[in-house]
Symmetry: C2
Subunit: 212 residues, 2 copies
């Protein structure tokens, strides 16, 4: 089974902090994400800086686009992003407008989606989703469990390339072993450490062990 | 019936353009919105600049917050925003985390919400919503109609302060006459004109005529 890619979510409040972390962990991960918090703080400069630092890595603009799909995708692409996230409650028209500019769009699954909606997406060629525990759900004490794994498996069976995120750690990612996960997205488990490069390496080691 | 407030949505690709428009139309409107496109392009500097330009106006950060409610709200507040938008598919936990920091949160109604969900919001003190035609729906040829008016009326009856947006013009706002709309949000109908100040004045004149 193909090893999931490792994505670092940079959600710092300043570009300086994000760059300092990316400087250490960026070379080790497969995908660098300009998180929503960082994007709202630093603007397109964040995408420009990270895509220039890592010209050979995939750069994700986590804009969670809800509207004006064409413009948001054009701006993200112009700044150097390869992937763009859209929110599950965006209309199909918005998703398709974004996808026409940026073929790799990823739908963020929050509390809006249904399997009916997901079937509509895949029928329209929108085949990447991000399943997650929201940060606020995690703060409220929720954790990954069998219910999540079942949903992820269902989405994979429907034909989606599924990425997962939300409080993932070196300890929790083996939960998904046996599932062809597209990407493991880690935020503070890497960025919140004294040595983010070392933790990123530990993630890659576990991914190779479990999926290699 | 109280006259709806007039909000200008600044959704330019650069802060320079947005500021030039705000310089003309800002003094005439009641609320200045840092739109999502502008926020993603220019970052928090956009909020800082516009809130410093218009210290006595309400400043809306249209972040369409989907997660990390506390952090997004703190950052927007710190930059000078008074109101924050959240997306309809955000979890209740996220909305409440944002509201704890920024009491004026406004839920953007895209394709995710249901009346059941809306009842849950209002029960939890989240009483402002923004009803709209998405930009992409408008591009696909949809327009305002009776179906929209009915939904807006239902939401008002439930106790929401309802703002409306999406392709509103001086010609279309009288459609809502008779309804206690909280705010009329206009984007390109004002910002796309040669004289945005004059068009903003025309909006205010019609609002006074219809609701005065």
């Amino acid at each position: 089974m193909t090893k999931p890619k490792l994505q670092i979510a940079l959600d710092q409040n300043s570009l300086a902090e994000a760059v300092a972390i990316a400087h250490k962990a960026g070379p080790i991960v497969d995908i660098v994400e300009v998180g929503t918090i960082l994007a709202l703080q630093a603007g397109q400069t964040a995408i420009e800086t990270l895509s220039t630092m890592f010209p050979n890595k995939i750069i994700v603009a986590d804009a969670k686009c809800a509207d004006a799909g064409k413009t948001v995708a054009q701006n993200a692409k112009h700044a150097g992003a390869d992937y763009l996230t859209v929110i599950d409650s965006a209309t199909l028209a918005t998703m398709l407008a974004a996808k026409a500019v940026m073929p790799n769009i990823q739908v963020e699954l929050y509390s809006a989606w249904t399997y009916d909606l997901a079937r509509q997406w895949i029928k329209n060629g929108i085949d990447q989703v991000i399943y997650h525990q929201s940060r606020d759900a995690l703060l409220a004490g929720e954790t990954w469990g069998n219910r999540d794994l079942t949903v992820v498996e269902n989405l994979i069976d429907m034909g989606f390339r599924v990425s997962v995120t939300g409080g993932l750690t070196v300890e929790t990612i083996p939960l998904f072993a046996g599932l062809p996960i597209e990407t493991m997205i880690a935020g503070r488990a890497i960025t919140g450490q004294n040595n983010p490069g070392k933790v990123a390496e530990e993630f890659q080691t576990v991914l190779t062990q479990e999926w290699g």
